[in-house]
Amino acid sequence: MKIITLPKENLTEFIGYLHAFGEIHAPTKRGDKSVVFAPVSDLSEIELNYTRTILPLKKYFFKPVDVMFNFYADKGYEAPTEEADKKYVIFGVHPCDIHGLKILDLVSNGRYVDTYYFAGRNKAAIIGLDCIPDDLCFCRSIGTDFVDAGFDLFLSDIDNSYLVRVGTSLGDDMVKAADTLFHEVNKEDREAYKRKSIERRKSFRTEIQLQDLPEIIDLEYENEVWHEVGEKCLSCGTCSMVCPTCYCYAVFDELNLDASSGQRKRRWDSCLFKDYALVAGGHNFRAERSSRVKNRFFHKQRGFVTQYGRPSCVGCGRCKAYCPAGIDIVEIVNKLRSQTRV
């Protein structure tokens, strides 16, 4: 992989060059504490030292509410007029969120391809940025604290410069467009990177023991902890909305006042909603809140592993950070494990 450096004082200028590659979106402040990905025009608006945004990148490619097609009683179904070929550069994406996108790529692909997702995904360049974890981050135990693919460029902070890994041909074009801003990697940079890497590793404080977790979950399928969590869960949907890998959606038709035309839309759904597994006629396969909580966890940490060989959790900590009831996946795992040991 091509690796170069970008002195920090050149970042402003580099961002200027990126405009040629699409509309730049980056982490920006919302309110006092929150950070969200939003359009920016220059570096001054970018929050480089953020921990996590409220929503992950899925909001760009798998929108909270999206039009699937228009329908007409006489003409049938028609694709909506496509947005002009607008390109995006998403700057400052942390490794966990890049892994989140890789998981969404996986599930949107397969025998049937989610064309809506890839229509946006194929138009976005991803520029990654490394991060310093807080107590809620457990990406290191999931193996998502580092990425070696899934980005066009990836910037790692090495004090006075960024070490820049070039992941794609498009990333290389970006570097070439601002050629004079970048330098070759020298010995000092290499040492700085290795030193920072150790520092960063030491800063992870929260761990989750992933190995054999699927088996533990099978064993503890009837564990009391599911009822405890079910009692606390508000079914408010927050965890699913903020999760980088929650991809469930509900489909609904919205009718115009002429009562003969309208739009089919889809919106983010959550398996914690009461009607999620409800079928026509009234039978609900997961009527109990505890069964819904268990199912969400089971799918991410057990089912997905069987299906794709890895959990569909990237350790970003959003679910704990935003759950009003403070439900904590790490705590659930610890409870399941300690009870297995007894």
């Binding site: 097609f69 179904y77 064309t115 194929n122």
Partner: protein, 286 residues
């Protein structure tokens, strides 16, 4: 940008094909058989499917829902859906005038593993609306009769008035290439009913089955399934020779929306036909 290289070639799997309701055949109260013709832009294209597969049907302005196909792929040109009026989509479907346009996507799901079933005896056990998906398999085997050994159908309904495809099935009673056993739970004094009376499991007394070269396909309400299963296991059927069709909430039919997930299987992709062995290895299923 790695992502998906050939997206421009990809078909949007969510857009329905225009289709027309050719004929509506009332069955029993609140159940109708819809004969549907699907129009493709490519005139030569025909809608091919396997018994046990399903389609997503859209009623314009109301929404979309999954329906198992009741016709056999051996009868080309149209598909038949046996629908119970039970939710908002079916309610709207029942209000449509004849010849109305609907939208169809599919076929989806695995369907019955017909190649695997060939060369074996087939025991079809249905209860209530469970006859809808099994009818497809029934006619498929009868139209490919030489490929199968004995074909037995057991179908139970509450009373003669609740029996789907009643006249069609009654006409099978005289055939020698299929053993058709029909039963009703309770005989109504006034009704003329010459077939069996009693729950569907009582029909097992009338057949002699070798479980080693027989596949059983079971479809019906949960209670019935439980008793039929006991009966089959008692007769030493292997768990992977018992096939069942599962129902779940579905919004996409193509393994994306998540609703039909059971543990780690999508009912819409990995099912709706599961062996009993598959099913007992899924959480939430026993």
């Amino acid at each position: 940008m790695s992502k998906h290289e050939n997206c421009s070639d990809c078909q949007n799997p969510y857009t329905p094909h225009p289709a027309r309701i050719i004929r509506i055949l009332p069955q029993i109260p609140d159940h109708q058989l819809f004969q549907i013709h699907i129009r493709f832009e490519d005139q030569g294209k025909v809608f091919t499917y396997r018994p046990g597969q399903f389609v997503m049907l859209s009623v314009i302005g109301v929404g979309e829902a999954p329906f198992s196909i009741s016709s056999s792929p051996t009868h080309e040109g149209i598909i038949e859906l046996c629908v119970r009026r039970i939710g908002h989509v079916t309610d709207a479907l029942f209000r449509l005038p004849p010849k109305a346009m609907v939208g169809i996507r599919g076929p989806y799901g695995n369907g019955f593993p017909v190649e695997k079933l060939e060369g074996n005896n087939l025991l079809l056990v249905a209860g209530g609306l469970g006859m809808a998906p099994l009818r497809s398999l029934l006619w498929y085997t009868l139209d490919n009769r030489s490929k199968f050994k004995d074909v037995i159908l057991m179908y139970g309904a509450k009373n003669p008035g609740d029996m789907l495809f009643k006249y069609e099935l009654l006409s099978l009673l005289d055939r020698t290439d299929v053993k058709c056993l029909l039963t009703i739970d309770k005989k109504d004094e006034s009704a003329i009913w010459k077939a069996h009376v009693g729950v569907v499991t009582t029909l097992f007394d009338f057949v002699d089955i070798d479980p080693n070269d027989t596949y059983a396909a079971v479809c019906g309400p949960e209670v019935m399934f439980k008793f039929v299963l006991d009966e089959l296991l008692k007769r030493n059927f292997a768990k992977d020779r018992i096939l069942m069709s599962l129902e779940r909430n579905m919004h996409c039919g193509v393994g994306k929306c998540g609703h039909c997930m059971i543990g780690y299987k999508y009912t819409c992709l990995d099912g709706p036909i599961f062996t009993y062995w598959d099913a007992i290895n899924l959480p939430e299923m026993v």
